[in-house]
């Protein structure tokens, strides 16, 4: 397997009870790439991300992270997750820790790093997302956009091979979405490998390398963002982007 493939997914399946959610997903992510996943709600996007970092166990299929098969039963799942950053829609910052400690705790507890060194890195990461002055604040004292930027810093601090973003701006007020997208764009331009589940088509077009369009548990179409958004081949894809386009047009009126 070529060494610049960070993540490879082959024929992934997942059902909840009798309801199949993922019906055979395969794709690859190359180093430095930003993959966009979109699709209607219920199409399996979030389940896919959770299967990829093994928070949800896939029923069938194989996943390789930097050439190592992580669906192998003998793999230490905790070790694997250290190498995958995860940014949640609902932020999920640790409520009892300051912004700084939210970012440093993974380094201290999981990587057993010296406390001072962990804090130095954490502060550097907070600076990167523009929140150095808010390092001492608790999550409840931060806005939604700031929380999500701390969450991104927390993921980055672990120096992961890839970062997953699960609808990172969907829980934010419209005026706070921009600051989060700016941070994500900057990281994408620094070639931080990522998979982004999002409906922010501006973001997808400006930094996405490829869009994977999911429908009913399958990737039914994939290609460069501009082509997928403006000139999709599948009827479902076309309808989906038309609806998003109409929604934005109405909002911008």
């Amino acid at each position: 397997m070529s060494s610049d493939i960070v993540l490879k997914v082959e024929d992934l399946h997942k059902s909840y009870g009798n309801i199949p959610v993922l019906k055979g997903i395969s794709f690859e992510v190359r180093r430095g790439e930003t993959k966009i996943i979109c699709g209607p709600s219920g199409s399996g996007k979030s389940t896919l991300l959770r299967c990829l970092n093994l928070i949800t166990k896939p029923d069938k299929g194989r996943i390789w992270l930097e050439g190592e098969e992580i669906t192998d039963r003998n793999v230490n799942i905790n070790k694997v997750r250290q190498r995958i950053g995860f940014v949640f829609q609902e932020f999920n910052l640790f409520n009892h820790l300051t912004a700084l400690r939210n970012v440093s705790i993974g380094l201290e507890v999981v990587k057993k790093m010296d406390k001072n060194e962990a804090r130095r890195i954490a502060l550097e990461m907070l600076r990167k997302v523009g929140l150095e002055e808010h390092a001492h604040k608790y999550p409840a004292e931060l806005s939604g956009g700031q929380k999500q930027r701390v969450a991104i810093a927390r993921a980055l601090a672990m120096n992961p091979a890839i970062i997953f973003y699960d609808e990172p701006t969907s829980a934010l007020d419209p005026q706070l979405i921009g600051e989060v997208l700016e941070v994500m764009k900057a990281l994408a331009r620094e070639k931080v490998t990522s998979i982004v589940v999002t409906h922010e088509m501006g973001f997808a077009q400006s930094v996405g390398d490829e869009i994977l369009f999911m429908y009913d548990g399958k990737i039914i179409e994939q290609g460069p963002p501009l082509q997928i958004i403006q000139n999709p081949k599948c009827e479902q894809t076309r309808r989906f982007f038309q609806r998003i386009h109409e929604l934005y047009a109405r909002e911008n009126k």
Binding site: N53, I55, N78, K79, V80, R81, Q82, R83, I84, G85, F86, F88, E90, F91, N92, L93, F94, N95, H96, I105, G106, V109, V110, Y138, P139, A140, E141, A151, R154, A155, M158
Partner: protein
């Protein structure tokens, strides 16, 4: 020696013993409460069942019965405890069982997202529980724990039943010598009320010290 001089010197002896019981029981019961709650929520089926059964049993017995079992019945099975330790064991088990229910409720009330975020960083279950879940759950459970500690202070007086010379035991004994129940028992009552008040204030102080914006109990 006057009545009051003699009474006070008696009471102080007993009070010291009561404080010794509490000094052992308070930290141990909190630890047991945390341990039982964690075992019930995170243990495998067997561990969870054992911890749950322990809590159900201890909450189903009058404390007096528990105490007498520990002191009088266990020796028949070859397990002996001196009076002081028999009382400590009974109180810790009883208080720990009650406290564990507050902690268990608090753990259950922590949003699942906290756990997902901890797992995503690569934390083991133990790291997650110790560093993420318990610090939050403990804060939420603290008012309930305070309640149990105050009960513990008051029912430490039951130790007199197995012959521990604690505060109530010496008061009772002194009354049988002097028969001045109004002075003797009202003074004793004041001391218990004083200890309960100090405990309330101390735990309030801990609550304030541990307070984190957004985690307050409203």
């Amino acid at each position: 020696m006057s009545f009051w001089e003699e009474f006070i010197s008696y009471l102080i002896q007993g009070w010291i013993t009561t404080l010794e019981i509490l000094a052992v029981c308070i930290p141990l019961s909190i630890l047991l409460g945390l341990g039982l709650a964690v075992a019930r929520v995170y243990g495998n089926r067997l561990i969870s069942l054992i911890a749950g059964g322990f809590v159900a049993l201890l909450r189903g017995l009058p404390l007096v019965v528990t105490l007498l079992i520990v002191f009088f019945a266990l020796p028949k099975l070859g397990i002996f405890f001196p009076p002081f330790w028999a009382a400590v064991i009974a109180f810790v088990m009883c208080s720990g069982a009650y406290q564990s229910e507050y902690v268990r409720g608090a753990i259950r009330s922590i949003d699942i997202g906290q756990s997902l975020a901890a797992q995503s960083l690569g934390m083991t279950k133990l790291q997650e529980v110790v560093h993420i879940i318990l610090p939050q759950a403990f804060r939420r459970a603290l008012p309930g724990i305070t309640n149990e500690i105050i009960y513990l202070i008051l029912y430490s007086s039951l130790a007199y039943l197995v012959g521990v010379q604690e505060l109530f035991a010496v008061a009772k004994h002194f009354n049988s010598l002097q028969f001045r129940p109004i002075e003797i028992f009202s003074t004793t009552a004041l001391i218990y009320a004083f200890m309960a008040t100090i405990a309330t204030l101390a735990f309030r102080k801990i609550e304030v010290k541990l307070r984190i914006p957004g985690l307050e109990i409203t």
